[in-house]
């Protein structure tokens, strides 16, 4: 095994991992404020990509306008989902909430497919497919751009949590009863976090839609995003970024060694193994803070 090849695997793995982080940030935003694991984030990402495409196609917007427009629409969708579906379930057992997000996932996927059909469409971001050469390493341009977007979204979130509204959200994630008693509108805060997660889903959908085309498979990012979020700690944004890099590198380098042994496709196995091991060994993840109920 040659050193440059390993370096290339590592760098590309880390970049792909940062794209998983972009997805996981949406999960973390919602979990932080309301302790709801949003299993519909994959479907939201898929919806986001279709909204971007339709803004461009039906309304004739150029892409630089279609993406912000899609973000506004998805912001509204996130608020609606929280208001209609999640708020009535506040205080219900976790199984009901999990099932609700699963139901939302199924519903959003089914509706989107029924309206737009299942054929894969290009997003048309116009990024060149020629790889960048760094020494003898080949690096994908779109992955590099995506990694940049992830860092930008992460920094935006960090700054956002220092603003007045952001401090409210942090208070809610700290202790929602205490926030309630000092007059912070908790419901509105939770709604806002759903809206922000939907906006983050648009960012993820544009990058991933460019990489693999816009179709139902965008919603399959859920398992990887969930693994990243759990590994980093479900309520830690920094954790999501770090864990994304770790998972990406593990997946890329590990599958390179494992694939010849098991006959291909070991990426998914590595992801599932990381998820199981994290939950068994360190359920609160690398940077997570929430107490895990144990027996």
């Amino acid at each position: 095994m040659d050193g440059w090849f390993l370096a290339e695997l590592t760098v590309n793995g880390a970049l792909t991992g940062l794209l998983y982080s972009l997805f996981a940030i949406g999960l973390v935003l919602i979990y932080k404020s309301s302790s709801v694991p949003n299993l519909a984030q994959g479907a939201l990402t898929m919806v986001g990509a279709y909204v971007v495409i339709e803004c461009g196609r039906r309304l004739g917007m150029p892409l630089w306008l279609a993406i912000p427009a899609a973000m506004v629409l998805m912001f509204a969708l996130g608020l609606t989902i929280e208001r209609v579906a999640l708020r009535p379930l506040a205080g219900r057992p976790i199984i009901m909430i999990l099932m609700m997000t699963l139901g939302l996932d199924i519903f959003l996927r089914g509706t989107t497919m029924a309206i737009f059909g299942g054929t894969s469409r290009p997003l048309g971001l116009g990024v060149s497919y020629d790889p960048l050469f760094v020494g003898p390493m080949l690096i994908s341009r779109i992955h590099l751009i995506g990694a940049g977007v992830t860092i930008a979204v992460f920094l935006a979130c960090v700054f956002f949590f220092r603003t007045r509204i952001g401090v409210r959200l942090r208070a809610i994630s700290d202790d929602y009863l205490a926030s309630w008693s000092v007059g912070i509108p908790v419901e509105r805060g939770v709604g806002l976090s759903w809206a922000l997660a939907s906006v983050a889903a648009v960012a993820a959908s544009v990058i991933w839609g460019e990489i693999q085309g816009v179709d139902q498979s965008l919603s399959l990012l859920l398992l990887k995003g969930l693994t990243v979020a759990v590994l980093g700690g479900l309520d830690s944004l920094l954790g999501a970024v770090v864990a994304g890099i770790i998972l990406g590198v593990l997946e890329s380098v590990g599958s390179n060694f494992l694939d010849p042994l098991v006959g291909g496709g070991s990426r998914d196995l590595i992801v599932a193994a990381v998820l199981v091991l994290t939950v068994l060994l360190r359920p609160h993840g690398l940077f997570g803070r929430h107490e895990i109920e144990r027996i």
Partner: protein
């Protein structure tokens, strides 16, 4: 009306602990059983085969899932993987030459062993993290099935199930297969109905309500969680095998993916946690309603002269199924079982609704 409670008094523990405390319940159950027994004669073969038979088998499977979620209170998102274990084990055992009776049991037992391994995770974490672990294990199982050619023939292969023979008789007719499914479903139902009356059932409920309170009362919550997982896995394994041998006739890895796990979970939730009649109704709704609504939609579109792409029709059932889950969770989180119970409670005291129920 039919559920008159007057004159029914339970004066000792034995009568109070009877399977049916009100004769009307027993009569209803017997009526349903009789309807099930005459169905092959009374129903067209097409309906019997494509609606009633899958309904019964999925109900048996969903009851097993309800045991672990509704009675024992443990989340489980990897149930379909255990059905796959049962299905593959029994088909392989039967191809090897084992009689089907033993093959079913072997499938159930291996599923129970693997289900108990899932439970090892349950003993370390609870709630969300348990759900995530079982979900990950489901993915591991999916992966194993599609990447083990010696077991399944690979991702796009299928394995033919040998002809079903029970007690020396080959079962090839539609009615015969139906009775196998009915028999298994009735067996599971009777087991779960009796759960309430046994120490096992009460221990499971105690663990569900508060596991350390149960531990203080001397209920070993560790042990009963394993028992719950293993029992439900046994039911899953045999249901998977029955499903394959009476309905699919061949077994492929795609039959038991994570979507099936989610569908079973939806059946349990829509039906109602820890409700037997609810599970029957929930399975019927999740299995049949999406197709029926799609049919209705197609007719309406035809009537209005609007035409949709075939893909639209292909995905409407999914959307309807999602909407059903969302709608139930918002409107009646306790599911169809609760609605049934409300009606029953109303009839119990009709026309004197103001009396204590």
């Amino acid at each position: 009306m039919f559920f008159r409670q007057s004159g029914i008094r339970h004066t000792d523990y034995i009568t109070d602990n009877r399977l049916f405390r009100i004769p009307a319940d027993r009569n209803l159950a017997l009526l349903a059983l009789a309807a099930g027994l005459v169905a092959p004669v009374a129903m067209p073969a097409y309906h019997l085969n494509s609606f009633l038979l899958p309904w019964l088998i999925w109900t048996a499977a969903a009851l097993g899932l309800n045991l672990v979620i509704g009675w024992a209170g443990q989340l489980h998102l990897g149930y379909a993987a255990l059905m796959a274990v049962g299905a593959y084990t029994s088909v392989h055992a039967a191809r090897f030459g084992l009689p089907w009776e033993l093959a079913f049991v072997a499938g159930g037992l291996l599923a129970a062993v693997i289900g108990s391994m899932f439970a090892v995770a349950a003993l370390r974490v609870k709630g969300l993290y348990l759900a995530l672990t079982t979900l990950a294990l489901q993915f591991v199982m999916d992966w194993m099935l599609s990447h083990s050619p010696w077991l399944t023939g690979g991702s796009h292969a299928s394995l033919q199930a040998p002809t079903l023979r029970l007690l020396g008789m080959p079962i090839t007719g539609e009615a015969g297969r139906y009775f196998v499914a009915l028999g298994w479903c009735v067996l599971v139902t009777v087991f779960l109905m009796n759960l309430r009356r046994t120490g096992l059932g009460r221990a499971l409920v105690a663990v569900r309500e508060k596991d350390y309170a149960a531990a203080i009362l001397g209920v070993n919550s560790f042990w009963f969680k394993i028992v719950a997982f293993a029992t439900s896995a046994f039911i899953a394994g045999v249901s998977g095998a029955v499903l394959v041998v009476t309905y699919y006739f061949l077994v492929t890895p795609e039959q038991f993916t994570v979507n099936v796990s989610i569908q079973l979970l939806a059946m349990v939730i829509v039906g109602g946690l820890a409700s037997i009649i609810g599970t029957y109704l929930g399975v019927a709704l999740i299995l049949l309603a999406p197709g029926l609504i799609n049919l209705l939609f197609a007719q309406m579109a035809g009537g209005l002269g609007v035409r949709f792409a075939p893909e639209t029709y292909a995905h409407i059932p999914t959307a309807v199924y999602g909407a059903l889950v969302i709608g139930f969770l918002i409107v009646e989180p306790l599911g169809l079982g609760k609605i049934y119970r409300n009606i029953r409670d109303y009839l119990l005291v009709w026309p004197f609704d103001q009396m204590k129920k």
